[in-house]
């Protein structure tokens, strides 16, 4: 079967990376060069990004190999000579990487990743790094909005079935958890990342029994301390009464109904009636779980309208970042042995040189960032582009997902109110240092 794995991931690159590398190889161009991976401009409906996906990027860089099968395939293309294929076979990533830590906010034009490596290496890893880092950053950024909307209530990632393939389901669950999801329905993500797993039941379960109440009774008995009953297969209020009846009748058997889920209809009205039905039956601790095409806007509405809800199940819109399903992220050469480099294509200018991003806070709220040259020190700021790999090896142990998740929660707490708006576009101030501005001017003039 056709899976991407450590053995073939090196080939998950664009052909031009390899033809360029072949050309560099032939011309003996192996100087260390620096590339920035950044999002030129945030999507219209995003006021901030949450950096995410670095751990998987590092794993890729550490394990990237062109194995015999890869070389056989490349040979079959009749584009590459044996010397270059030999070189590829021995290729290991030996570069340095700086990155904005996972869970930290990032803004327009700030390097999420800065890669310094021999030219061919830096080039070959471009496609995978973009694919990996942009996707998780996009999902974490979307899920952070869901977290802001949910406030005190929890939300669970239900997106597996609508995610773009298997890898997106796995990494998307991770990114959602980083941004604040309390759990995922995705069992493999639970196993791989240690994320809590959560689930209720499907309509098909209810329908597989002769009656709704029979289905509820069976499930409550089978999972006496964790049953969440789906009550909208036929009629929500009737479903709630049946759930209450089951909980009452089976209380003596040790059943404590954890919750009910409503997946369709007018969720505000229905959750109110259901809350009343449950409370009237003395089930004040039984939670109400809402799902069904939810996103941050719908959740904010439900919260605003006072729906008595304890948790949200959020699927498609979070899992595919429905309102911004791609980030305009790029990976650009900014310096090589000849000095700073700069692309001047219409509307696509890049900032030359090795850079650092400094973040300034005021009264516990982030105020602005300054992109400066690497060797500058910006008083009062905090550098956020940190060294993470040196000569192809990590400089520290992998961070735990809970550390990253905590960093994200801290970041969200320090965002100014304007950036937290789910409906109003607000732009965070990202300045350039005087020396960077000078360099831009000098480089433009030199290459123009």
């Amino acid at each position: 079967m056709t899976w991407v794995d450590s053995a073939n991931a090196a080939l998950l690159t664009d052909l031009y990376e390899l033809t360029m590398a072949a050309s560099y190889f032939r011309h003996d161009m192996k100087e260390r060069s620096t590339f920035d991976l950044f999002v030129r401009r945030l999507p219209e409906n995003r006021n901030f990004l949450i950096a995410c996906g670095l751990e998987q990027a590092f794993e890729y860089l550490e394990s990237m190999r062109f194995d015999a099968a890869a070389l056989t395939y490349l040979r079959s293309l009749e584009m590459f000579d044996e010397d270059f294929l030999d070189y590829l076979g021995g290729l290991r990533f030996t570069g340095d990487v700086h990155a904005i830590p996972e869970g930290e906010a990032a803004f327009d034009g700030e390097p999420l990743l800065r890669v310094t490596a021999p030219l061919s290496q830096a080039q070959i890893v471009e496609s995978y790094l973009l694919n990996c880092v942009l996707f998780q950053t996009m999902i974490a950024s979307k899920a952070a909005r869901v977290a802001l909307a949910s406030g005190e209530r929890s939300f669970v990632d239900f997106s597996l079935r609508r995610d773009h393939g298997a890898d997106a389901a796995l990494k998307g669950a991770r990114a959602a958890y980083v941004a604040g999801a309390s759990a995922t329905s995705n069992v493999l993500a639970g196993k791989v990342f240690g994320i809590p797993v959560n689930g209720t039941m499907a309509h098909s379960y209810v329908m597989a029994f002769d009656s709704e109440i029979e289905a509820f009774g069976a499930f409550a008995r089978d999972f006496p301390d964790r049953a969440v009953l789906l009550i909208d297969t036929f009629d929500v209020e009737e479903g709630a009464r049946r759930a209450a009846q089951v909980a009452t009748e089976l209380a003596d058997e040790g059943v404590r109904l954890t919750g009910v889920r409503i997946d369709s209809g007018d969720l505000v009205r229905e959750s109110r009636s259901v809350r009343k039905i449950l409370d009237d039956a003395g089930l004040v601790d039984t939670q109400i779980f809402l799902s069904g095409d939810l996103d941050e806007h719908r959740i904010a509405e439900l919260v605003d309208e006072g729906a008595p809800v304890d948790a949200f199940g959020v699927g498609t819109q979070m899992g595919v970042s429905g309102d911004a399903p791609s980030l305009g992220g790029v990976y650009k050469l900014v310096a090589d042995s000849a000095g700073p480099r700069m692309k001047l294509s219409a509307g696509k200018v890049t900032l030359p040189g090795c850079k650092q991003v400094w973040r300034y806070e005021r009264n516990g709220v982030i105020d602005h960032d300054v992109i400066a040259l690497e060797n500058e020190t910006m008083p009062g700021g905090r550098p956020i582009l940190l060294p993470v790999m040196l000569n192809g090896r990590r400089v520290a142990e992998p961070e735990s997902l809970d550390e990253i998740r905590k960093r994200c929660a801290t970041t969200l707490a320090t965002l100014p109110k304007s950036l937290k708006s789910l409906t109003q576009r607000a732009e965070y101030r990202v300045e350039r240092s005087e020396r960077l501005k000078d360099l831009v001017e000098r480089t433009s003039a030199a290459r123009g």
Copy 2:
């Protein structure tokens, strides 16, 4: 590193599939049941779908196993008893599957897949089947629009870097090829699926040399019969003149410049000037390749405005189906040993019973479909839901990608003009047979 593969794919399921299965197991509910996987309603900006992703679904069904590591993890959740874990350990998919063949058009409410299997099996595979089939169907449907816009011109999948993770990049390249892409930039997709690979060069290549002309010369010499030079790093027309100069100067060395690529700016105006520069230099066979945030609408414009273009590189918008990044696909119980089943939730009614889809053509153009019960025969129609697996085994060898691609081309040729519109919503007529309507009525009454 964290990859999804055959060994762990069984866990790529929602937790509730397993809790439901555990409950079915305890209640000895193992009757064969039938589920339909279908898209309830096409996205606003899609007039048709192209079925895709079945091959990977079958591979999953054939190889799905809960291995020891999976069982250990599930045990650690303290939700499942040993009897059920034993049962899971021995579980193999033994069901029957009907499907609309890959490359065939499909419409609102038509089962892309119909799964009949012992209840737990059919339930556990839900999440993966949806994830797998919906994604490729979505990309093939988007890419088919790109194919319609491109007409005689070819287009290449450039989406890897913006796809949602590694699996999406691989399967997305496959789906785009099915729908008409002539090649992909994704080398691994080339290896795995035998798709032709294609590529040009990046701006960083040009910038890695001391001058643009030096970069062009080096690349043209290294790939004398396949060089496509990227000419917009500094100034497009200047770039075109330099490309022409290189081609002329190196003609004696056997260099035949395949093409130039423009990735930014006013593509119509620029492609015209570039064409003139190339023609004036006698390079009438040198092709013009356009890229840069293209989608079917932009391509249709470029074609309409008469841009002299030979091929398009299409990335992000095709790879994430930017204007419809998810399909509202569901997987619903429609029949079990007790007969037809039907969900009645507000706005989410399903069609009960085992069904067949009949397609009617008129003068080589598809006219309408009829969804009927399985045992009906609809004169003049062609059944499109075909048996593909029996007792967990395929009934035929896997189809070649080229067969599927050919089927898709045929399908696109038989679409009525209205459905081919890229801007006007048109609805294809999908009727229900009288017997199906009767069954809907009777089932609603019985469960209402």
